[in-house]
């Protein structure tokens, strides 16, 4: 039995534990090199994941490597890579850097285990590994009350969702007698659902819904993203949120298909409320991190359209939008990080560093960041050529195709609501662009920290690259959807 396909997970685990050990031995000054070490490890994993095509099952069918797991691992590793690169600047000369990088790597391993999980136990353990690492990361600035408050809120809601999920899993195990996902599906394909199945599914939907930040399970997300250190917000919004989606793809989509349960309407209502609420509330936000948080709630609403129709194409669209959203949102949060750096270098005790006013004249003060943020915000709104456009196009097209073939009026209505929502979102993205390029700058041009610039440019290149050459990514997403056999 060769474990070579799990090399990324193994490498990152060893690296994380090695960094903790190394942190004890080296001086505070030389800890700055740990960021480069983590970035190198993540880059190696990224190359390995892109270059390897194999499939396999490991540890008595608990973990599986297939196209679905690989595309989500790509998302997680890419997000962690840009976050780690930016953190080299953000946490420079911080004496707890070793723990920071170890936690980021462990969170990434947890997300990758969730992406590969083929068993409820592995799924739960992966979820918890990623969640617990990110609880600590959210509160990493332990002198900053906002960061601690973000961590506490995230912790309470996160543990509540874990408890709901575990209770749902225990019911599923009780009904089907197995924790292995294929075995569960086999049970359901030969037995008709009982009422307890619906209760179990509702627990699972609530548990995953908290992680995905769907309305009404979203209230932790804006607070946590606003209070956390900006680089951690990028990891949470871009990476750990996608963990809920991959789990939902693996468990819920399959269960919905196998159970032939009529939860279409439930997901349709959730999706419509989520995207509308996210976009409407984002309009009134003055804090850019909070605005991005609400916009990522709206994006979660778009992605969850994939659960409504559950055709192969819609799931491919959901996966593509998840990939695009990870790059766009990660890059946008890091650009906010540059603004924070700029404001703090003007005035050490500044409060509300992500306020909209601080973006005035950013085009003059930090031209590379401002232009990247401009591209990423338009991509988030779905303007071609960008990953945001490709994802939304495939997703909305698939729902329309299903609406036409099923002659279903309400599916068409949902597509129209989604497109109107995209139009609405341009308003608050454009407002930031206006502040950056039209309003007068509040200070001199600054020297943008190189690690931030590298990380943001990587996100921009990824976003535009997927927009210009969508074929290989659409193919990957279609392969991923084929795994689900819908």
């Amino acid at each position: 039995m060769s474990y070579i396909l799990l090399a990324p997970e193994i490498l990152l685990t060893i690296l994380a534990l090695g960094i903790i050990l190394l942190g004890l031995l080296i001086s505070d000054r030389s800890k700055n090199m740990l960021g480069y070490l983590s970035a190198a490890g993540l880059a190696a994993c990224l190359i390995y994941i892109i270059g390897t095509k194999g499939e396999g099952r490991f540890f008595y069918d608990a973990l599986v490597v297939d196209p679905l797991s690989q595309i989500f691992k790509l998302i997680f590793v890419a997000v962690s890579l840009i976050v780690v690169i930016a953190s080299i600047a953000y946490f420079k000369n911080n004496r707890n850097q070793d723990e920071y990088y170890a936690l980021i790597l462990l969170a990434t391993v947890g997300m990758m285990v969730v992406a590969s999980a083929n068993d409820l136990v592995a799924l739960f353990v992966g979820f918890e590994l990623a969640s617990m690492s990110t609880y600590v990361l959210a509160g990493f600035e332990k002198k900053n009350p906002a960061s601690l408050e973000a961590a506490l809120k995230y912790f309470i809601i996160g543990s509540l969702s874990s408890a709901l999920m575990l209770f749902g899993m225990s019911l599923v195990y009780g009904i089907t007698g197995s924790t292995n996902i294929p075995a569960i599906l086999q049970y359901y394909s030969s037995n008709s659902p009982v009422s307890l199945d619906i209760i179990a599914m509702l627990f699972l939907i609530a548990g995953f819904g908290f992680k995905m930040a769907l309305v009404p399970f979203h209230m932790w997300a804006p607070d946590t993203y606003e209070g956390s250190p900006t680089v951690v917000s990028a990891l949470l919004a871009a990476g750990s949120k996608k963990m809920g989606f991959v789990a939902a793809f693996r468990v819920l989509v399959l269960a919905l298909v196998a159970l032939r349960m009529d939860l279409q309407m439930t997901f349709a209502i959730l999706a419509v409320i989520t995207m509308t609420y996210g976009n409407v509330v984002a309009i009134s936000q003055r804090s850019i991190k909070r605005m991005l948080a609400y916009s990522s709630i709206a994006q979660a609403g778009y992605i969850s359209l994939a659960f409504v129709v559950t055709t192969q194409m819609s799931i491919a669209g959901g996966v593509l939008l998840a990939l695009g959203h990870a790059l766009m949102k990660g890059g946008a949060f890091l650009a906010v990080g540059v603004v924070g750096y700029m404001v703090l270098s003007d005035n050490k005790d500044a409060k509300n560093i992500d306020h909209l006013d601080n973006f005035s004249g950013l085009g003059k003060r930090a031209p590379i960041t401002a232009f990247s943020l401009f591209v990423l915000l338009l991509a988030l709104a779905g303007i071609p050529p960008s990953a945001g456009f490709v994802g939304k196009f495939v997703l909305f097209y698939s729902v329309t195709a299903e609406a036409v073939s099923a002659a279903s009026g309400w599916l068409l209505f949902i597509v129209i609501v989604a497109i109107l929502n995209s139009a609405l979102s341009i308003y608050y993205y454009a407002r930031v662009i206006k502040y950056m390029y039209v309003n007068a700058p509040a200070g001199e041009r600054i020297k943008e920290p190189t690690p931030y610039v590298v990380a943001i440019l990587l996100a921009v290149i990824g976003t535009i690259g997927i927009g210009l050459y969508p074929e290989p990514f659409v193919q990957m997403a279609m392969d991923a959807a084929r795994v689900l056999g819908v």
């Binding site: 353990v125 408050e149 543990s159 874990s162 225990s170 195990y173 197995s178």
Partner: protein
Amino acid sequence: MSDLYSYLLVAAIVFTIGAYGIITQRSGIKILMSIELMLNAANINLVAFSSFNGDTAGQVFALFSIAIAAAEAAIGFAILVVLFRVRDTINLDNINILRW
């Protein structure tokens, strides 16, 4: 059969008490205790089903979840301790810097 139902009933009651506690309690410690109740309700379910089905997978799952719940409690208390040092309170009504 009736045995299984009584275990499930206990688990459901414990779970509900935990959920009620999270909604109504304002002290960070009590909320942590409520979360533990909810996790342990799921463990009761797992062990009861495992014994009823004559399959050990559920007990293994319960062991995993007990270990995870312990780690979770440790992290929760750590966050509360650091918060208490900065804010001198762990009452959730006073923890409201972040809002729109």
